[in-house]
Symmetry: C2
Subunit: 307 residues, 2 copies
Amino acid sequence: MGKLLIVGTVAFDAIETPFGQTDKVLGGAATYIGLAASNYNVESAIVSVVGEDFPQEYLDLFTQRNIDTSALEIVPGGKTFFWKGKYHNDLNVRDTLATELNVLADFKPVVPENFKDADIVMLGNLHPQIQLDVIAQMTEKPKLIVLDTMNFWMEHTWDLLKEVIAKIDVLTINDEEARQLTGEYSLVKAAAKIQEMGPEYVVIKKGEHGALLFKEKNVFFAPALPLEEVFDPTGAGDTFAGGFSGYLAQSGNIGFENLKNAIIHGSNLASFCVERFSTERMEGVERDEIAQRLHQFKELTQFDIEL
Amino acid sequence: MGKLLIVGTVAFDAIETPFGQTDKVLGGAATYIGLAASNYNVESAIVSVVGEDFPQEYLDLFTQRNIDTSALEIVPGGKTFFWKGKYHNDLNVRDTLATELNVLADFKPVVPENFKDADIVMLGNLHPQIQLDVIAQMTEKPKLIVLDTMNFWMEHTWDLLKEVIAKIDVLTINDEEARQLTGEYSLVKAAAKIQEMGPEYVVIKKGEHGALLFKEKNVFFAPALPLEEVFDPTGAGDTFAGGFSGYLAQSGNIGFENLKNAIIHGSNLASFCVERFSTERMEGVERDEIAQRLHQFKELTQFDIEL
């Protein structure tokens, strides 16, 4: 059983899609990562911050899923980070209607003693200074540091972000952001440029069009599972990251062939996440459903051409 | 060695991409289909029409590739179909600058006697009346009739197109057109609706995002090969159709498992097509390059998760 350290937001989301809307519900990168990773045989902890308004039932949810919350700081009198967004009919497009940093504005992460030797560190989308602070606290070099980020940090904290990217092993980023980061339209060229910045592996996420894994001249592709209904894409990328890092923490093997498996596991879990609002589906997903859908991924992609 | 009957345009194209432009060069759906299929062990013929302006060297090209041109009508004094298009920086978007039907306007297809029992009929994008006329001339029921079409025919000749769709076995169509045809955003639902219209198989082409194959509840996905450079996407969909139908004509097996292989073969050849203007790359592609790239497709998609 490997140790997985998860860093990222724990948040309230309010979501509007063409199919309905929610009031404040459970959200945040670390939340989705943690829930996804809890489907694997791992010891995990979340480093994050919430306000006093954060319900006990959500904390209990983490504990029930065997996620260590001792480093999930609760700020007395503080308000939890809040994000409000609206998806278009084309669910690939969304507008952010509100972002309230609240307690996140002054957050100083503290890695728990017993996770300073974590095997895998999963840095969810967050201010790069927080990501740097976490890396600096690790007493043993992790097998793999995975970083997820987005265009906001490229535009506002580029120097810091570059510093983080130089220290990590896997960057996960979406296709448009990979293009923006490198000035290359071709994702093959973009991935090569990103590898020059530090990470050995680059994962380019293309939403409903799947994800690409690059290492030097090696490329692997995991499709998204074609679904009858996509209800709410919120958290799909984080769930992908959680499946990816959770599987790797469980297996302990960080070779290219096993990273292929990891992005299939990530895509597999993401296919559940989008079927309901918020974390609803991820809270209820069963082990046999996960195995059944991995089987669908095999059917979807495996062929038998003799060469 | 199976028999493959190819119906579609043989044309002049003038193409502008961000990387350069061409004067009138060889183009047309049947041209790309024929060249792609000639990489397989098939007996093939093109049913189409050109004008007197069509160069002998292009006719010789077909003959050298063992493509029967006895049903490629040459209209004395006529002018060959001409298409002019311009691609944006995002090569998925193109504007049609000119379409001159010329000899295509009055074309009446005649299927050669020795191809009226073809194993596979590949109906490239063309007026649905021509496609119907070809089907009516077959004296033996083909193993498989494959139809490629586009939004223009949906908008202008819907009743005729519906008639063709009811008579075929495989529809290949792009994602936007599948949505337009069915009113369903989900490609899974769109494919199910199209199957109700007649075809046993539906192939949804997503350009650089790959292609999906549907039969009842079965789904298979072939990615496009991630390339460093895409130079000119013209003919990629037709080359895909040519690889698909050529491989099936060679193998003779039209079961779902073998159709998986066929869409990999189609995607494989399409990856060459886009590397140069017009048919340049497809004219020069070698057997060992094709095999080598099929190997890349395996590396790109095959994984080893025990279930």
